[in-house]
């Protein structure tokens, strides 16, 4: 540490070598890369859990795992994919791209940035370690509803503390991002000149700072109910298990947009680049995204229509939820208008963005279906809901992340991925994704409940198809790892701007790969 003190100004020097570089780095590019690799690792771990679930559901009856373990798998799959895979992936994009896109030398707080990342591995260890705790991991679902969570074993405590640490990471990361965007822009880059990806992260970070503390409060109440004799979720003491649902979804619904909004940002950079046209309706995109963020605080109880609430409340939540379709529709039409009459080419980033556009819109429509109270009462907790949110989370957020990786990889590593292999990755992903999840709509409409390891015989065929699709999708992602490693090892050298229509600062001002320290002199934006 003495050495570090002596070199407070050593930012201009070469970074330390080996693992020390990554443990101590204050460089947004190193930290972005660590976020992305951590996210991909967690994606594979969560994927193995998903395949465990699908294997059990391949046939009716109980064959592979005990029901308790099945519950643990659905719980941890959800928590790991949401908090370990998708959120860190987009924070990785934010770290790499925001300073490059606004012409900043780094993030506003480089040391805190390092801590935001390095809080994730301990949290991941606690979460996955819960599997080995006496009584096994948490099995109450990723939504952690009371009273199940109050009754579970030590694994639940590990999960609660993991969520506390993840929350700290998210809040610090978000404060860093908001501050960077508000205070580190190059001269001339007014807010309304920022690339849309930066705008979406400004709004997302605001949402994170607003709702992560609420989640922390909810799991803290669970903890005190478990160990310190409080009665927050126990009617005997005047509490209510439904109160947990209200608090959780006050966090949980904005969380949906915390995942979706950066995804919107990525495709809003990709479409103009491959349509060779500016983004259609930039200002309306900003306002639509802000509207979605504000509305996201006002609709939470649409996740809990069936717990028993006054019909007036149901009506309010139904109409408020439907209202979200308006700004979302603005965005979808803007993307369509962006590619309309464009000079289109279909490289892998564009394919994934188009896949996003089709399938996310489909997931949005099923969401609109579920917002209707009388329909939701039928479909609540069925596989229709599972299909809906996987269209939004996988075909929405994940496809957008893939699009972003292929799009920015040349800038990050200075090498091109193999276009042919990228296209294979896209086609296998989109086909197997639909094989896995489209039949789940039918299963849900026919009444198959979620989170149950066994099912009636009439659901057998579609479940078998879905499991085959899931394995195909999983293998496609291992193939994606191969594409990445191949590009890093032996990819063709990338030019400064491999994409004709990309016009943000990282493409116009920086070579590929972007140098370790970029924009120490701020560019002038006109």
């Amino acid at each position: 540490m003495e050495a570090a003190h002596a070199h407070e100004d050593s930012h201009d020097h070469a970074p330390p070598s080996g693992i020390v570089r990554y443990l101590t780095t204050t460089n947004h590019k190193d930290i972005g890369s660590m976020y992305l690799w951590f996210s991909f690792t967690m994606f594979l771990v969560g994927g193995i859990m998903a395949l465990t679930i699908r294997s059990e559901l391949f046939q009716p009856g109980l064959q592979l795992v005990r029901p308790e373990f099945f519950n643990t798998m659905t719980t941890l799959h959800g928590l790991i994919m949401v908090f370990g895979a998708i959120m860190p992936a987009f924070v990785g994009f934010a770290n790499w791209q925001i300073p490059l896109m606004i012409g900043a030398p780094d993030m506003a707080f480089p040391r805190m940035n390092n801590w935001s990342f390095w809080l994730l591995p301990p949290a991941g260890m606690l979460l996955i370690g819960s599997l080995f705790a006496p009584g096994g991991g948490p099995g109450a679902g990723w939504t952690m509803y009371a009273p199940l969570t109050v009754q579970q074993g030590m694994g639940m405590d590990l999960t609660i503390f993991a969520i506390h640490i993840l929350g700290m990471s998210s809040i610090m990361g978000s404060i860093n991002i908001v501050t960077t965007i508000l205070n580190m822009r190059a001269p001339g880059m007014t807010l309304m000149k920022m690339p849309l990806f930066v705008w979406t992260w400004l709004i997302t970070a605001y949402l994170l700072i607003a709702v992560m503390p609420v989640l922390a409060g909810a799991v803290t109440m669970t903890l005190t109910d478990r160990h310190f004799g409080t009665h927050f979720f126990n009617p005997a003491g005047g509490g209510d298990p439904v109160m947990f649902q209200h608090i959780f979804w006050f966090f949980g619904h904005p969380e949906v947009y915390i995942i979706a909004i950066p995804a919107f940002g990525v495709v809003s950079q990709v479409f103009p680049a491959f349509a060779r046209k500016p983004l259609f309706g930039y200002a309306s995109m900003v306002y639509a995204t802000s509207s979605i963020a504000i509305l996201s605080f006002l609709v939470w109880a649409h996740h809990m229509y069936t717990v028993g609430m006054p019909v007036e409340a149901q009506l309010y939540y139904m109409f408020a939820t439907m209202l979200i379709a308006v700004p979302t529709g603005v965005k979808v039409f803007n993307w369509v208008a962006t590619i309309w009459k464009g000079s289109l080419t279909f490289e892998t980033p564009m394919l994934f963005a188009l896949g996003f556009l089709f399938l996310f819109t489909l997931g949005g429509f099923t969401g609109l279906v579920l917002s209707v109270v009388p329909i939701d009462v039928q479909l609540h907790d069925t596989y229709y809901v599972v299909a809906h949110f996987h269209y939004v989370m996988v075909a929405g957020a994940l496809f957008s992340a893939f699009s972003g990786v292929y799009f920015w990889l040349p800038k990050w590593i200075g090498k091109m991925y193999d276009e042919k292999l990228g296209k294979i990755h896209f086609w296998t992903s989109i086909i197997f994704f639909n094989v896995a999840f489209f039949p789940q709509h039918f299963l849900g409409l026919a009444g198959m409940p979620r989170r149950i390891p066994d099912y009636s015989l009439q659901f057998a065929d579609f479940n078998m198809v879905s499991t085959i699709g899931a394995f195909g999708f999983g293998i496609s992602q291992v193939f994606f790892l191969y594409i990445l490693l191949k590009a890093i090892k032996s990819g063709e050298k990338a030019p400064q701007n491999p994409w004709d229509g990309a016009d943000t600062l990282e493409w116009t001002h920086l070579p590929s790969p972007a140098p370790y320290h970029s924009f120490e002199e701020a560019p002038q934006v006109k």
Partner: protein, 290 residues
């Protein structure tokens, strides 16, 4: 990139720290603290204490080291105006996140008082559960037989309100002094603020003791007990943190840190202190008074 040099003075001077071990040390410390806390809650015995203690020591070591580094950087003039603005944004957003954390517990209190307790007192519910339950706040809950006496608002809590509001005055008095370069008044103002904070905490400690010893008001006392202790407890924890921050600022002032123009650490602590003050006013009204 030709005309880039013109604007170099604006972003060129932004201080970017060298690689640092403090974050990873903090992560290791938090890991052990969390693990130790989990073990302790699950009867982990001595191991739990050791793990929790180890984690806490690592975290305290990290805080001394990290904050010390920041203070040295600040005092050696490495932070320009833009860095100062970054700190201002960050502290504001941090306080916003704290507001949301307290909002969660206030929300729980309102939910119980406005919704779940009246539901439990409705005839339909009583036909199935706890007949005869009367919802007259303050109340523990229908399934709790133990009786308690609620905490009155006009004894210690009113006194504590006066203490915290006075501390808001003294810290502002200290701030005026700092801006006018009156160092003695600065130190005395901060000293008074710390003293008021510690007195507040002493009274609250006594109040908890009194509640447990004489009023049978415990954490187990249902809706009232849970919200009373969680809200005032988290507030008390924040006052403790704020007082420690004030002590740091006091010691720094005595060492001659801060100038009339450059003293964001002082302002951040005073923002935090005012925030804690405002939360207390909310607590006084809805937890103690109404």
């Amino acid at each position: 990139m030709g005309d880039a040099l013109e604007m170099s003075s604006q972003t060129g001077g932004y201080y970017l720290p060298a690689p640092s071990y403090w974050p990873i040390i903090g992560s290791i410390g938090l890991f052990f603290m969390a693990l130790g806390a989990v073990l302790m809650m699950n009867d982990g015995g001595t191991t739990a204490n050791l793990v929790l203690g180890l984690g806490s020591i690592i975290i305290i070591y990290m805080m001394f080291g990290w904050f010390g580094t920041v203070i040295r950087e600040s005092e050696s003039g490495k932070y320009n105006h833009q860095v100062d603005v970054s700190y201002r944004w960050a502290m504001s957003w941090f306080i916003f996140s704290e507001v949301m954390f307290f909002a969660c517990f206030f929300g729980a209190l309102f939910y119980m008082r406005v919704l779940s307790l009246p539901w439990l007192a409705e005839a339909d519910t009583q036909a199935l559960l706890w007949p005869g339950f009367e919802n007259t706040w303050p109340v523990s809950g229908p399934g709790i037989v133990d009786k308690f006496t609620p905490m009155g608002a006009w004894g210690i809590p009113a006194l504590n309100t006066f203490l915290l509001l006075s501390s808001g005055v003294t810290i502002t008095w200290a701030h005026w002094a700092l801006k006018a370069e009156k160092r003695a008044q600065l130190v005395w103002g901060l000293f008074a603020t710390v003293l008021l904070g510690i007195t507040f905490l002493g009274f609250q400690f006594y109040e908890y003791y009194h509640a447990y010893a004489d009023l049978n008001l415990t954490l187990e006392q249902g809706a009232y007990g849970a919200t009373f202790y969680m809200l005032t407890g988290f507030h008390g924890f924040h006052v403790t943190v704020g007082t420690i921050m004030l002590i740091v600022i006091l010691l720094r002032s005595m060492r001659g840190h801060f100038t009339a123009k450059n003293h964001f650490a002082f302002e951040a602590v005073s923002w935090y202190w005012h925030f804690v003050d405002v939360v207390w006013l909310g607590l006084f009204v809805v937890v103690y008074w109404l």
